[in-house]
C-alpha cells in the first residue's frame, strides 16, 4: 500500500518526463556526435555541390507545397466556420486516410492509362494531352499539389479552433461597423491573426514535408531524386560511397528544413505587416466564402475519387484503356491479401492499439497528477515540440544509432519506443485541450462532498470525458497504424507494420493486390473513427 502511495507521488510524472527527455537528448546527441566524427574525414562542401539539383528541388517543392496548404486551409476554414461545426467532422476521416494509399491513388489518376487519360480519351481519342506523372515538370506540380491537399485537413482542423479563439465573428462585426468590406475583415484582420496563431501546425507540416518518404518516392520527381528519398537509399545501400553520403544528407536536411522554416516565418511576418497596413481590400466586395466552398468540394471529391479508383482497381479483372469503369470483376487481390498478410495486419492493429492505450493511460496519469503544475505542462510542450519539429527520418536514424551504440534492449523494444514517441505528442495536445475544456467545478463539487480524487476521476471525469478519450485513442491509433519509417530505418525491415507492406506491394505485386492492400490499410482506422463519430453524435443527441 505504501509502495502504491509512493508511486502516485507528485514527482513521478516529472521523473517519467525527464526519462523521456533524457532519451531524446541522447538520440539527438548521438546524431551530432556521428556527424562530427564523419565530417572530419569527409568533405561536406563537395557533397553539397554534387547534390545541389536535389537540394533545390526538395526545398522549392516543399516550400511551395506548405504555402499552398496554408492558403487552401485558410479559405476552407473560413467556409467551414460559417457553416455549422458538425460539417467539419469529415476532416477526421480525411486525416485518417493513409498517406501511402493516398499517394498510390494519385498515381492512378495520372498514370498513362489512369483516370485522367481515360477521361481525356473520350474527347481527344488517341491524341490525349500529356497526363503522366513521369515528366519532371508535371511531377513537381503533382507533388506540390498532392502534398498540400494532404496537409489541408490537418491544418483546417486546428485552424477551426484557432478561428474560434481569435473572436473572428466579433472582428467581422467590428470591421463592418467601421464601414469596411467583409473581405477587409478577412484579409486585414482575421488572416494575420490566424496565421500568427498557426505557428506550431505550420512547423509540423514543414518537418513532415522534409522527412516524408512516400510522397517523395511515389509522386516526387526522379531526375534528380528528392533528398528524402536519397537518405533512405543511402541508409539501405551496400555501396560504401552512398553510405558515407548519409551524414552529409542528414546535415543537408537539417539545413534546408531550417532554411525553409526561416523563409516561411519571415514570409509570414512580412505578410502580416503588409496585410495589417494595406488598404487594398477595404472597399472590395468579393466573396471568398464561395472559393472555400469550391475547395472543400474539390478536396472531398479528390479523396472519394482516389478511394473509388483504388477500389475498382482492387476488384477489376479486365479494365482496358480507355473504358471508364472495369468490365469484369474478381476478388483475387483481396483473397491474396487475406491469405498472406492477415497476420501482419492483425499484428499491426494489436501493436497500434497497445501503444495508443499506453500513451493515453500514461498521459492521463501525468496530467492528473500535475494538474496545477504549469512547469510540467511547459516541459511536455517542449518535448512534444522537439519530437514533431525534428525531421522524422533523422530522429529515427538517431534512434537506430543509439540502439547500436547502447545495445541494451532488443530491436523490438526500440521499434515500439520509436512508435511511441510519435504518438506521445498527439496524445498530449489532444489531452491538454480536453482537460482545458472540462469544467473543473464538477470536481470541486465532488471534493466538497468528501469524494476522493481517484473516485471522482472514475465516477465523474471519465464518464464526462469518455467521448474525448475515445477520439484521442482513435487519432493515436491511426497515427501509429500509419507509421512507416520505423520499419525501414530502426529495424531495417526486421519488424514491419502493414503500412510498410503496402508500399512493397505497390512496387512488386499485381495492381489488384496492391490496391486491395492500399484499401485494407484504411479500414481499421477509418472504421474506428467513424464509430467514434457516430457514438459521440448519438451521445450529444
Amino acid at each position: 500500500m505504501n509502495g502504491l502511495k509512493h508511486l502516485i507521488n507528485q514527482n513521478t510524472p516529472l521523473l517519467i518526463i525527464f526519462l523521456l527527455f533524457g532519451i531524446i537528448f541522447l538520440i539527438i546527441g548521438n546524431i551530432f556526435y556521428e556527424l562530427i566524427i564523419q565530417l572530419t574525414i569527409r568533405s561536406f562542401s563537395n557533397d553539397f555541390i554534387n547534390l545541389l539539383p536535389s537540394i533545390s528541388i526538395t526545398l522549392m517543392n516543399n516550400l511551395f507545397s506548405v504555402i499552398c496548404a496554408i492558403l487552401i486551409a485558410f479559405f476552407i476554414t473560413n467556409y467551414l466556420y460559417k457553416k455549422s461545426s458538425a460539417n467539419s467532422s469529415f476532416l477526421i476521416i480525411l486525416i485518417s486516410f493513409p498517406h501511402i494509399s493516398y499517394c498510390i491513388g494519385i498515381t492512378y489518376l495520372f498514370a498513362t492509362s489512369g483516370l485522367f487519360a481515360r477521361l481525356f480519351a473520350i474527347f481527344y481519342g488517341n491524341e490525349i494531352p500529356f497526363t503522366s506523372s513521369s515528366g519532371d515538370g508535371l511531377a513537381n506540380f503533382i507533388y506540390i499539389l498532392s502534398l498540400a491537399l494532404r496537409e489541408v485537413p490537418f491544418l483546417v482542423l486546428i485552424g477551426l479552433s484557432v478561428w474560434n479563439k481569435i473572436n473572428s465573428n466579433q472582428i467581422q462585426q467590428q470591421v463592418s461597423v467601421l464601414g469596411h468590406s467583409e473581405l477587409s475583415a478577412l484579409m486585414n484582420c482575421i488572416f494575420p491573426l490566424w496565421l500568427k496563431s498557426m505557428g506550431l501546425p505550420i512547423l509540423i507540416i514543414i518537418a513532415f514535408s522534409f522527412s516524408n518518404y512516400e510522397f517523395s518516392l511515389i509522386l516526387g520527381p526522379q531526375f534528380p531524386d528528392m533528398i528524402n528519398v536519397k537518405i533512405i537509399e543511402s541508409w539501405y545501400s551496400s555501396n560504401r560511397e552512398l553510405t558515407k553520403l548519409l551524414n552529409s544528407l542528414i546535415i543537408i536536411t537539417v539545413l534546408i528544413s531550417s532554411f525553409a522554416i526561416l523563409i516561411l516565418f519571415y514570409l509570414r511576418k512580412v505578410t502580416i505587416i503588409y496585410l495589417k497596413t494595406t488598404r487594398l481590400f477595404i472597399s472590395i466586395n468579393y466573396n471568398l466564402y464561395l472559393l472555400g466552398k469550391y475547395l472543400v468540394i474539390l478536396l472531398i471529391t479528390l479523396f472519394i475519387v482516389i478511394f473509388l479508383i483504388t477500389f475498382f482497381l482492387s476488384i477489376n479483372n479486365s479494365w482496358f484503356f480507355p473504358s471508364i469503369i472495369p468490365v469484369t470483376f474478381t476478388l483475387k487481390g483481396w483473397t491474396y491479401m487475406i491469405d498472406n498478410y492477415a497476420e501482419l495486419f492483425l499484428n499491426s492493429i494489436l501493436i497500434s492499439s497497445v501503444i495508443s492505450i499506453s500513451s493515453l493511460i500514461l498521459m492521463t496519469y501525468i496530467i492528473e497528477i500535475s494538474l496545477k503544475n504549469n512547469k510540467i505542462f511547459r516541459i511536455l510542450l517542449l518535448l512534444s515540440f522537439i519530437i514533431l519539429v525534428m525531421p522524422q527520418n533523422i530522429m529515427l536514424i538517431g534512434i537506430s544509432g543509439l540502439m547500436t551504440r547502447l545495445s541494451i534492449f532488443s530491436i523490438e523494444i526500440w521499434f515500439y519506443f520509436s512508435l511511441f514517441i510519435y504518438i506521445f505528442p498527439y496524445t498530449y495536445f489532444m489531452m491538454k485541450q480536453t482537460y482545458e475544456d472540462f469544467n473543473p467545478q464538477y470536481i470541486d463539487n465532488a471534493n466538497v462532498l468528501g469524494i476522493s480524487k481517484i473516485k471522482s476521476f472514475f465516477y465523474i471525469k471519465l464518464p464526462l470525458m469518455i467521448n474525448d478519450f475515445l477520439l484521442i485513442f482513435g487519432v493515436s491509433f491511426s497515427v501509429c497504424f500509419y507509421q512507416f519509417l520505423q520499419g525501414i530505418i530502426v529495424t531495417k525491415g526486421e519488424k514491419l507494420l502493414f503500412n510498410n507492406e503496402v508500399l512493397i506491394l505497390f512496387s512488386g505485386e499485381s495492381i489488384n493486390t496492391a490496391s486491395a492492400g492500399s484499401l485494407l490499410n484504411f479500414i481499421p482506422a477509418g472504421l474506428l473513427l467513424i464509430f467514434i463519430f457516430i457514438k459521440s453524435r448519438y451521445a450529444r443527441m
Binding site: N167, Q173, S176, V177, G179, H180, K276, S283
Partner: protein, 205 residues
Amino acid sequence: MLECNNINIQNEKNDYLIENQTFRILQSEIFTLTGASGVGKSTLLKYICGIKQESFTYSGEIIVYKNIVSHLPTNKRGVRMIFQNDLLFPHMNVIENLLFAAPPYRKNIKDEALSLLNKLNLSHLSFKNVTMLSGGEYSRICLARIMINEPKVLLVDEPFSNLDKNTKNITRDFFYKNISAMNCATLIVSHDMEDIYSHDKVIKL
C-alpha cells in the same frame, strides 16, 4: 440624421421584444436609449447597424440621411457603432488601429491620426500594443478609432459598463465632450440614469 420607423423585433416564440418603435435623431443630437436588462436595447442597436441574429425576426424601416438602408449590409449603411465589449484589433498597435479605421477615400492620414491622439491627450499610447491598455484607455482608443472614421450616425452600446466608478466618470466626460464635437446623430444605450446626457432626449423601452 437617423430615422427608425415602425421597428418590430420578435423572438422565436413570436413574442415582441421591440414593438412599433419610431424615432428620429437629427444631426448633432445625442439620444439615450434606456430600459431594463433584456428588453432588447442592444438587439435594436445591432439591427439598426445591420447585425441580425438568426433567432429574431425583424421588420421596419431604417433611414439614414434620407436613404432607406434597411436592406443594405452593415458596411454600406453609413451607421457606425461602438459595442459594449468593443474590440481593438489585437495584431495592430494603437495608431495602426486608427489608420485602419479611417474611411477608404482618405489618404496620408497618419499625421491626422497622431494629431487626433494628441488632441485627446492619448498621444503617449500611439505605438502601444492594444493588449497592454487599461480599461479606461481601451475605451478611449475605441472612441478615437470611431472619430477618425468620421461617422454621420453613431450608435454606442453601454460603453462604460465594464469600468470601475472612478474610471467611468472620467471616461464618460471624455465621451460626451468628444461625441458632441463630432456633430453626428448619436444614440447611446444605457441602463444607468447617471449616464444620460440630456434628459429631454431619452427613448425608453
